[in-house]
């Protein structure tokens, strides 16, 4: 029964290789994006940790995200 399922009347190689390629691609992309995210998070923590106390206060008072994106416009485009 398992052999019949895997063989799929001779099409098993084509069917399963398509599915495997799809999910290997998914896993690859997921891992790449995840590693990029972790790298940036680590960088952020390291940078924030290395700030002097007055700069930490300044960083906290800056509404960086809001500034960057909320009303983010650029004139030269």
């Amino acid at each position: 029964m398992i052999y019949n399922f895997l063989n799929m009347d001779g099409y098993g190689l084509y069917v399963f290789s398509s599915f495997i390629f799809t999910f290997v691609s998914f896993a690859g992309l997921y891992l790449i994006i995840k590693s990029q995210l972790i790298k940036e998070q680590k960088k952020f923590k390291a940078k924030f940790g290395s700030l002097t106390s007055d700069k930490v206060l300044a960083a906290r008072s800056q509404k960086i995200n809001k500034e960057i994106l909320a009303a983010g416009t650029f004139s030269k485009i």
């Binding site: 098993g12 084509y14 398509s18 599915f19 994006i33 990029q36 995210l37 940078k47 994106l69 004139s75």
Partner: protein, 234 residues
């Protein structure tokens, strides 16, 4: 404008990632069971038709995502809002991967059904051109360092590339191609049986969730990158 508070969006998207990942895996398992076990074989193609359950959703997603990127790029030119370009940049990697999956699985499907891995058929060639536009779009972000220049270049690539989207869609109607015409139509009658349509829809839902997951992760990465630059300026 509190709605656009990026800290809130960041926290929300970090939390939602786990939920989306769980939903994606759950729907994928159901979809795989439907596609590989429950759905019937085709009367002509036999079990080879099961490749459709990864090939078709991947092709739909790649076309949909590129159209969305082009739409956002037009909005960038009109409203000059950075957030649109950030969304477009974050969604592009999954679109590219879906395009590659559609090409490769199509090639694998071509061998048992057409007797060849590749044909310079209108549909296949236009999908390859779409992959090249995706590649140009992603490469432009890496190559150009000038912020204003990269925004212009990527937006133009997306807008020019969108001309290819209707060509991909209607290539099977406009030219005589090896590739079969669409079986699932929103406007005209769908010619696929529900026993095959249901697994196709479930797999498409899984692909949408995967794309959403990748988008959120990439979007968060880009936001943190901007935060890092903000800390450098202190």
């Amino acid at each position: 404008m509190k709605f656009f508070n990026q800290n809130k969006i960041l926290n929300l998207s970090f939390r939602s990632q786990k939920i989306i990942l769980i939903f994606f895996l759950l729907i994928l398992l159901i979809g795989l069971f439907e596609a590989l076990v429950l759905s019937p074989e085709d009367y002509l193609q036999g079990d080879a038709v099961r490749i459709m359950y990864v090939h078709v959703p991947a092709a739909w997603m790649s076309l949909g995502i590129f159209s969305f990127i082009a739409f956002l790029s037009i909005l960038v030119f009109i409203f000059k809002n950075k957030n649109f370009i950030l969304i477009a940049k974050s969604i592009a990697p999954s679109g590219f991967i879906f395009n590659i999956i559609a090409l490769v699985t199509g090639s694998i499907w071509g061998k048992p059904t057409w007797g060849t891995w590749w044909a310079w058929d209108a549909r296949i060639t236009s999908m390859l051109i779409l992959a090249l536009f995706y590649l140009m779009y992603l490469m432009a972000w890496r190559i150009f360092e000038n912020k204003n220049y990269v925004l212009k270049v990527t937006s133009l690539i997306a807008i020019f590339g969108s001309i290819n989207v209707p060509i991909v869609k209607f290539s099977v109607d406009w030219w005589s191609t090896l590739h079969q015409p669409a079986s699932v139509n929103l406007i005209s009658k769908t010619t696929i049986h529900s026993s095959m349509l249901i697994p196709l829809c479930i797999m498409t839902a899984a692909f949408v969730l995967f794309s959403l997951l990748i988008f959120l992760m990439k979007y968060n990465t880009e936001l943190i990158k901007i935060k890092n630059k903000g800390l450098d300026r202190l």
